[in-house]
Amino acid sequence: MEVEIERDAFSKGLQMVQNIVEPRQTLPILANVLLETEGDSVRVSATDLAVGARVEVPAKVAARGAITLSARKLGEIVKELPSGVLSLKVQENAWVLLRCGGVSYKLVGLAAEDFPAVVPTSPPGWVSLDGKVLKEMLAQTAFAISHDESRYALNGVLFIIQAGRVRLVATDGHRLAVSSRSLAEGAPGSGIVPRKAVQEIVRVLGVGEEVQLALVENQFILRMPNFLLLARLIEGQFPNYEQVVPKGHPCRLVLSRTALAAALRRVSVLSEERTKPVKLVLAAGALKLAAHNPELGEAEETLSVDYTGEEMTIGFNSRYLLDALGALDAEQVVVELKDAMSPGIFRSWEGEEYFCVIMPMRI
């Protein structure tokens, strides 16, 4: 293999895939990226066997072929190279000569044959989505992904494509986030996409690109021009999330998202650090937030709200509330509550595109 590539484009391509490479892996070759010629480009692939990605970078191909190189070292080298054209040439015994201007490296490669292929199953159809929308939907749900290793099915985001809608759901058992949008078209499918793939997608998605998704067999596929990401879907049963979404909560209040978030941040300064509990006392016309800490003192703030129902008190982890408020972009939010032991719902005033259900804390 012998190619010439623009350093800037190569660097950008490497950055899109090299995060997939795990710092510690079972197979030495998984520490590497695969470089292979493909038409008038070099395709760069990385995989940890569960999640894989590949990107095509335009190149001048003098000789076709393939090789693998340490992802970390190649990344470090290319990052430090000056802008311009760099050349890669594979020599005997998998030695790789990398040159750029007056700089040259002779690198130890590993044969490409042993690299696990990053090859998508061919799906029956694709779902098209604006990259910005997908990124927003993932940001609205990813924070609720569980870190509980014993509940594998919760360690990702559930994608459901059905009846002209795409819906993303995540829960850690304490809160549930559901984001949905309508679709022009799309083949139905569903599956749990692992956290790592979600993080990578959010990282590589820019603005304005159109992305295509497919859920097929046990694979999630995302593709953009010149880029492809594959993830093995998490096996297991995602809980019946619709069951935990309360209906007909009697206490309903509408308030300013930014005012509520600011008050929560102010009051929770005095909350216990680990679970950051805040007490909400709802009374006619007023919502009082309160926190206390035996070693530091107490904090309280009252917001005026349009509420006429009975007085009630409920406790929440203020971080959970702030996560939910941060995921909403409308200025007016709707909060629905029932009693101290029932979950609260947080949604935007307009539209049904997003809501978050949060379980209370005993206080």
Partner: protein
């Protein structure tokens, strides 16, 4: 410049004739009568506890039970019911925990509390001690004696001064006065031998000891001398240390013959997980990390663990252990299998979960099984897969 250490407020709570009082509480006909809890009065055991009515006859704890029977033949002699006392103890400690996070139980019926930081929430230390005594009487039905002082040593001395149902406070600055006329064997660490030696030196009271030159005591008693002098001057900076939870709880089994059958290995795991769950519940802990350990016939040992929500449910522990087991390739016969649960913490979770109902039902089930096991033995309720299989007839 050396900073003066901030003054602390320590309470020592000591239940009065604990075992005997619990019995009198539960059996009204025993109230006002001498009650002796301990071994069989005709046997060779000792007295575990004596009610104040029995103490009037000279009976005291650790006395041979036959001697107690001779001193107070008409007393009610009762066997030790540890489960009952443990339940009362848990109720007592739960009340104490409401007044400070710094509670150090020293036995089932005795604990230190550091209430220095609780004053702003509950008022002055003496009021806290009074409130605790009131709640112990109202909610557990038992009386306690309490001592309030700037350190542990004085608090313990103070709680002992007006037993039963006593309440004594030693204010900061009054330490030396308080100790002056007390006999020297009241000092922590002064047993009969040391007391004899001190008396030979002309020291009868703590006040006299406090006036001795330090060098003399050190020459005579070494390091203990310095310590005694500090105590005699009312100084004791030992902190109140809440019991640290154990690091982990586990079980393992080495098989008489190496095993390959995954079913049998999993049954061994299930039994271990149930046992650990029971132990966690008894001790009041829940753990986050489950670790599976396997030693192969060639002594190669591997462990696999995973971390999740805290649990004390044997079946949940088994579910996680089985998940780890399922991810293994059994390359050789297994010599030993074991499970442990670590990252232990207190059980009550303030954060509710969508699965709380399910978890609560499982917790009720576990409690019911625990109650049956206490009553009918550990094998009263077991998983069907753990029943001994009848050998197949030919």
């Amino acid at each position: 410049m050396e900073a003066t250490p901030p003054s602390r407020s320590i309470i020592h709570v000591d239940m009065d004739a604990f075992y005997a009082s619990v019995e009198q509480r539960d059996r009204p006909e025993l109230r006002g009568r001498p009650v002796i809890v301990g071994a069989d009065p005709r046997g060779r055991g000792v007295v575990a506890a004596a009610s104040y009515e029995a103490r009037a006859f000279g009976v005291c704890s650790a006395m041979p039970i036959r001697k107690a029977a001779a001193l107070c033949p008409h007393a009610a002699f009762l066997p030790v019911d540890r489960d009952k006392y443990a339940r009362a103890s848990a109720a007592i400690m739960a009340i104490l925990a409401g007044y400070s996070p710094l509670v150090e139980p020293i036995s089932v019926d005795e604990a230190f509390l550091d209430v220095t930081a609780s004053v702003r929430l509950f008022g002055p230390p003496l009021a806290i001690a009074r409130a605790i005594k009131g709640r112990l009487r109202a909610e557990v039905g038992l009386t306690a004696s309490a001592g309030v002082a700037p350190n542990k040593f004085l608090a313990k001395l103070a709680s002992d001064l007006e037993k039963p149902d006593g309440l004594v406070e030693v204010n900061p600055g009054d330490e030396v006065d308080f100790l002056r006329d007390l006999p020297v064997d009241r000092l922590w660490g002064v047993g009969p031998a040391t007391a004899r030696e001190l008396r030979a030196m002309g020291v009868e009271t703590i006040g006299q000891l406090a006036r001795l030159p330090g060098g003399l005591l050190v020459k005579r008693f070494g390091k203990t001398g310095t310590f005694l002098l500090e105590l005699a001057r009312g100084r004791d900076d030992r902190p109140v240390e809440p019991l640290a939870p154990p690091k982990s709880m586990g079980a393992e089994e080495t098989f008489p013959r190496d095993l390959r059958d995954p079913d049998r290995l999993q049954r061994a795991l299930l039994a271990q997980c149930e046992r650990i769950g029971r132990e966690l519940r008894v001790e009041g802990y829940a753990g986050r990390t489950v670790t599976l350990k396997i030693r192969f016939a060639d002594f190669r040992t591997i462990t696999r663990s995973l971390t999740g929500e805290p649990t004390q449910d044997g079946l949940e522990i088994f579910r996680r252990a089985r998940g780890l087991f399922g991810g293994l390739r059994l390359v050789a016969a297994v010599r030993l299998i074991g499970v442990s649960v670590s990252r232990l913490g207190a059980t009550e979770a303030a954060q509710l979960s969508f699965f709380s109902d399910f978890e609560a039902r499982r917790a009720r089930l576990a409690r019911a099984v625990d109650a049956l096991s206490r009553r009918f033995g550990e094998r009263a309720v077991i998983a069907a897969s753990l029943l001994a299989r009848p050998s197949r007839r030919q």
